[in-house]
């Protein structure tokens, strides 16, 4: 786990690089820049995440935290730089020793390791709860209906909604919908789970239920978690590493005890005193 501002090992030139040399490094951002219009959201960003770690991204709004998750989910493309997942380029592929923008097939192959839970849940309103969870395992992973249903029921049980499997999402509270969305993402057995402000759209009394489920996931699985959140207590609980963002860069990174207890950076101190 490192979050350095000095770019390391710009590998694109070597097509035969073995992903195994990265050891347990699962995600690497290399000099990633993302602009929206004239606004530079991520500025030459370099950082990496090791397999199995729980990493929380904090920082003021507009600091590019959500954009990192959206880049990893391929919902937006980087303007410059590369992203690697499991040693494979996410939005590029190597052809004849050159890096070219990746085709849909390559992107899907790398993307299958990544799952995401959204702020607004984004359940499919045209499917019942069980179908929401079964759909992708059946269509994308090619599981049989029985296998997918067994997997879905097990996950619904885990998030405490086994009795709601035949409801449409519109019949569920926000907290329940978000727990279904977590189950839906987990049904794909991702290596990485991206959590994009998953409690921000919830009524206060529903937040705890969702966070409990996530604590459960963090404790009982080896899924790598990348988490953008304003729930600092939750971040402190589950994180192995906290990254503080400002102005499109990582300005400080460290253990939760260090960041929340005794941050080095003045900007981190200011931010934490404003939100805590």
């Amino acid at each position: 786990m490192s979050a350095d501002t000095t770019p390391t090992d710009p590998t694109p030139a070597d097509p035969h690089q073995n992903p195994a040399v990265d050891g347990s490094e699962l995600i690497r951002f290399d000099k990633v820049t993302k602009r929206f219009g004239g606004n530079t959201v991520l500025d030459n960003l370099c950082f990496s995440v090791d397999s199995g770690k729980h990493v929380t991204l904090i920082g003021p709004s507009g600091s590019g935290k959500t954009t990192i998750l959206r880049l990893l989910m391929t919902l937006v493309k980087p303007d410059e730089g590369t992203i690697k997942v499991n040693g494979d380029y996410l939005t590029h592929e190597e052809r004849g020793g050159k890096l070219v923008p990746a085709g849909e097939k390559h992107i899907r192959e790398v993307r299958k390791n990544i799952g995401m839970v959204f702020q607004q849940f984004n359940l499919f309103p045209n499917m019942r709860v069980l179908q929401n969870i079964m759909e992708a395992p059946v269509q994308v992973l090619g599981l049989s209906k029985d296998e997918a249903e067994a997997r879905a029921r097990e996950l619904l049980d885990m998030v405490g909604l086994a009795d709601r499997c035949n409801d449409y999402p519109s019949r569920l509270s926000g907290g329940q919908q978000q727990r279904v969305a977590i189950a839906r993402a987990l049904a794909m057995r991702p290596q990485v789970l991206l959590l994009d402000e998953v409690t921000s759209a919830l009524d206060p009394e529903l937040v705890a239920g969702v966070l409990d489920v996530l604590r459960d996931v963090a404790r009982t699985t080896d899924i790598t978690m990348l988490c953008v959140t304003h729930e600092m207590n939750f971040a402190r609980d589950i994180s192995d590493q906290v990254l503080m963002f400002d102005g499109g860069k990582v300005i400080e990174s460290g253990s939760p005890d260090k960041i929340f207890g005794d941050p080095d950076h003045e900007r981190t101190r200011e931010f934490l005193s404003a939100v805590l």
Partner: protein, 249 residues
């Protein structure tokens, strides 16, 4: 108007009208989806070709195009259509162009977050369309499709001009023979209205079923249920003036 008129001309004419409506609606429906989806395709060339189809046939007079197929094509290419086929092709292709706009608009009105959720679960574009986007857009398409279908029903009277013996043709014939235009045309108006009303009721049923499948409360039922909401549809373009599709234009 005599019994013989009804038996040998008018009732068979109604049946022809129903057939032409049904067949051209089927053709228009297929074209609506093919062109509507092509207009949102990732490939720029596909989008442009579909856009050209839309622009050309939206601006084409159904009647002139029908004459062209019925009279010019046989001359140019030595192909002869039976009259009804020429009518169905002309109506289906022009109304399909309008329909493609309904499909495109309803798909554009599906929240982008749904597409993103589909990407996050690694669906292909086709899987997203088939399982997520089209099912959600479908209830939004039905009211404007209903409107277009009624326009199409009324438009079928054009086939009488290429000597297809639909009910308008029968009516004209009766007027020429007997000269009593008032009862003939009143009867035609009433029958078109009744057919349109039946179509609306059928579409209303489809819409209720589609909304129920989205887990939304179905609109009020009954034969006259929801008559008011129909007023929210733009009669010229056949597109919904309601928040859903209208906002996406």
């Amino acid at each position: 108007m005599t019994g013989a008129f009804f038996q040998s001309w008018f009732l068979p004419g109604v049946w022809i009208t129903v057939q032409v409506t049904f067949l051209s609606a089927a053709l228009a429906f297929v074209i609506s989806f093919v062109i509507g989806l092509a207009r949102t395709a990732p490939s720029r060339i596909v989008r442009i070709l579909a856009g050209i189809y839309f622009e050309v046939f939206r601006s084409t007079s159904s009647l002139v195009f029908m004459f062209w197929i019925a009279f010019t094509v046989p001359m140019l290419f030595q192909i002869k259509f039976i009259g009804m086929a020429a009518g169905v092709i002309a109506l289906g292709m022009t109304y399909g162009a309008y329909g493609s706009e309904i499909v495109r608009g309803a798909l554009a009105a599906v929240p982008p977050a749904q597409r993103e959720a589909g990407i996050a679960l690694n669906f292909t574009r086709v899987q997203r369309l088939r399982r997520i986007e089209i099912p959600q857009a479908w209830p939004e398409m039905l009211p404007p499709f209903n409107n277009l279908l009624i326009e199409l029903l009324k438009g079928t009277s054009l086939v009488s001009l290429i000597v297809v013996a639909d009910m308008t043709f029968a009516g004209n014939l009766q007027r020429l023979v007997t000269g009593d235009s008032a009862p003939v045309y009143t009867l035609l108006l009433v029958v078109y209205f009744v057919l349109a009303f039946l179509l609306t009721r059928g579409m209303r049923l489809l819409e209720r079923r589609a909304k129920a499948k989205l887990g939304q409360a179905p609109p009020k039922g009954g034969l006259f249920g929801g008559l008011r909401e129909r007023g929210a549809i733009d009669a010229v373009t056949g597109t919904a003036g309601t928040a859903g599709t209208g906002g996406a234009k």
